[in-house]
């Protein structure tokens, strides 16, 4: 009897968290549906979109550039030390190319942008929520989803692939610098090896991943900001949640997209 009581007590205790979890998941899916609907229905706020593109794209270039160049350099060093033991040093250019375009540029760029922009989105929208600016938008006959969320979603989808393409070039250049100036590869041989191994699929994978990651960063930034409650503490929590949830989702979807492209 006591045993069943304990089981009953345990199950009862799981009830509230389960209800809260289900509510949160439902709320997120409703938010996603509203965001997508409002991305495709007028009015469109071009000035807001331009501001987001500049913030997310142009001003993130130094961060993405630094991240990918050092990632490319490290991969060149690491792969050389590994391949040298089996006499396959010539594979370094190919490994740098594949690692950077398929994985490092999209994932590292996305994680950096999530920290820089996802947090800023959540903080800005969260502050607007707690200071009643979102209510003010509504009373001024302006749909907050169209004015705040849709431009950020579009910016994420447009900007991340461009950032990753730039990151690809910089990352490969990083590998080239280490390969040629430190490891002593012939410059034209290195470039030829890179170009010969370059496949459309490498670039496509990275670009598709970048678009997915851009969507995730904007979605988590907007969602956490929009639903923030309380004062400064609520905004702080929203900002942390935006970065943590988008980082985890980026890694999960990195696997899912890779699986879609490369599973046989």
């Amino acid at each position: 009897m006591l045993f069943f009581r304990k089981i009953e007590k345990f199950l009862r205790r799981q009830g509230t968290p389960m209800v809260n979890f289900t509510f949160k998941v439902g709320e997120l899916f409703v938010f996603i549906a509203q965001s997508i609907y409002n991305c495709f229905t007028p009015p469109f706020y071009g000035r807001n979109l331009w501001r987001q593109v500049m913030d997310m794209g142009f001003y993130s270039l130094p961060v993405v550039g630094l991240t990918t160049i050092f990632a490319g350099m490290v991969i060149a060093l690491q792969s050389y030390s590994g391949f040298a033991t089996v006499g396959a040093e010539s594979m370094v250019a190919s490994v740098v190319l594949i690692s950077v375009t398929r994985e490092l540029a999209p994932v590292l760029s996305a994680l950096m942008v999530a920290g820089r922009i996802g947090a800023a989105m959540a903080a800005e929208i969260g502050t607007m929520r707690v200071t009643e600016q979102i209510d003010a938008l509504t009373t001024l006959s302006t749909n907050p989803f169209k004015y705040l969320v849709a431009p950020r979603m579009w910016a994420g989808l447009i900007v991340m692939p461009i950032l990753v393409l730039i990151g690809d070039v910089i990352g490969i250049f990083g590998g080239y610098v280490v390969g040629v100036y430190k490891l002593g590869f012939n410059a034209s041989n290195y470039i030829n090896a890179t170009l010969n191994d370059l496949e459309a699929l490498d670039i496509t994978t990275g670009v598709v991943k970048a678009a997915v990651f851009g969507f995730i960063i904007s979605l988590m930034g907007c969602y956490n900001g929009y639903k923030s409650k309380g004062g400064a503490q609520g905004v702080g929590t929203a900002t942390t949640n935006a970065v943590v949830s988008s980082s985890i989702l980026i890694l999960i979807f990195n696997y899912i997209v890779t699986e879609l492209f490369f599973s046989r």
Binding site: P43, E132, D135, N143
Partner: protein, 254 residues
């Protein structure tokens, strides 16, 4: 007899287990200025948000110009808001925009004004609330509390709304600035011939702005009347509230 502009019938609103509005009934005539008084946490802000469609009541009906607000469609809500203006307690000015862009927001985004015309109209309205044109290009963060309230008022009236809501318009202001804001509210409302709903616990403000006063207590309208009737009433709740006495039927947790 003036026609009814806003009508609330048996409105209930809860947050979780806490019921904030318990069957509110209210009638606001066209061109009338109604002030809802009541202590903190009695549901005044929730009442305004329900009328604007920002919150949805569980029960009851809210009619604005005979149009039902409860369960209103998004497009209809935008049309409804186009005839409303709102002065928020904290101003709720957009940080990312300059003062004139805040004031002219509705003109720029919804009324198709170009920047030049919108700015000159914003400066005209800023002047009417006692602000110099030099303020127009500043950011809201550079303004004092009183100036932010004036900018908020300018934003609320620029589109000549039929209904204006004032949420604690004098909170956080010194008595002189509060009186200036009260005068501006009266001027703006009478000048536009608008219907006004103000929520406040500042009795000086209520006396100056109100044609009619209603008292909200524990989510219910417990008394309504003119300012003169308010001063003469023997309703113990109203008497305690307007005289600011700690002794009486209204109990506050300390």
């Amino acid at each position: 007899m003036a026609e009814t502009k806003i009508k609330l019938t048996n409105v209930y609103k809860s947050f979780g287990k806490k019921t904030v509005l318990r069957g509110v009934n209210l009638d606001i005539k066209k061109g009338e200025s109604l002030v809802v008084i009541g202590g903190s946490g009695t549901g005044k802000s929730v009442l305004i948000k329900c009328i604007q469609g920002l919150l949805t009541p569980e029960e009851g009906s809210i009619l604005v110009d005979d149009q039902e607000v409860v369960g209103i469609e998004e497009n209809d809500k935008e049309r409804l808001h186009s005839k409303m203006g709102m002065l928020f307690q904290g101003g709720a000015l957009f940080d990312s925009l300059s003062v004139w862009e805040n004031v002219a927001f509705d003109l720029l985004e919804n009324k198709g004004y170009n920047k030049k015309n919108a700015k000159s109209e914003a400066i005209r309205v800023l002047r009417s609330v006692g602000l110099d044109p030099e303020v127009a290009d500043l950011s809201p963060a550079e303004l004092s509390g009183g100036m932010q309230k004036r900018v908020g008022l300018a934003r609320a009236i620029i589109s000549k709304p039929e209904v204006i809501f004032f949420d604690e318009p004098t909170t956080g202001l010194d008595p002189i600035m509060a009186d200036v804001i009260n005068d501006l509210i009266v001027e703006s409302v009478k000048g536009l011939g608008a219907t006004a709903l103000t929520i406040t616990h500042d009795m000086a403000s209520a006396r100056k702005i109100a044609d009619k006063v209603a008292m909200l207590y524990k989510g219910e309208i417990i008394w309504q009347g003119t300012v003169k009737e308010m001063d003469e009433t023997e309703n113990p709740y109203v008497v305690q509230f307007i005289n600011g006495k700690s002794q009486g039927p209204i109990k506050t947790g300390v």
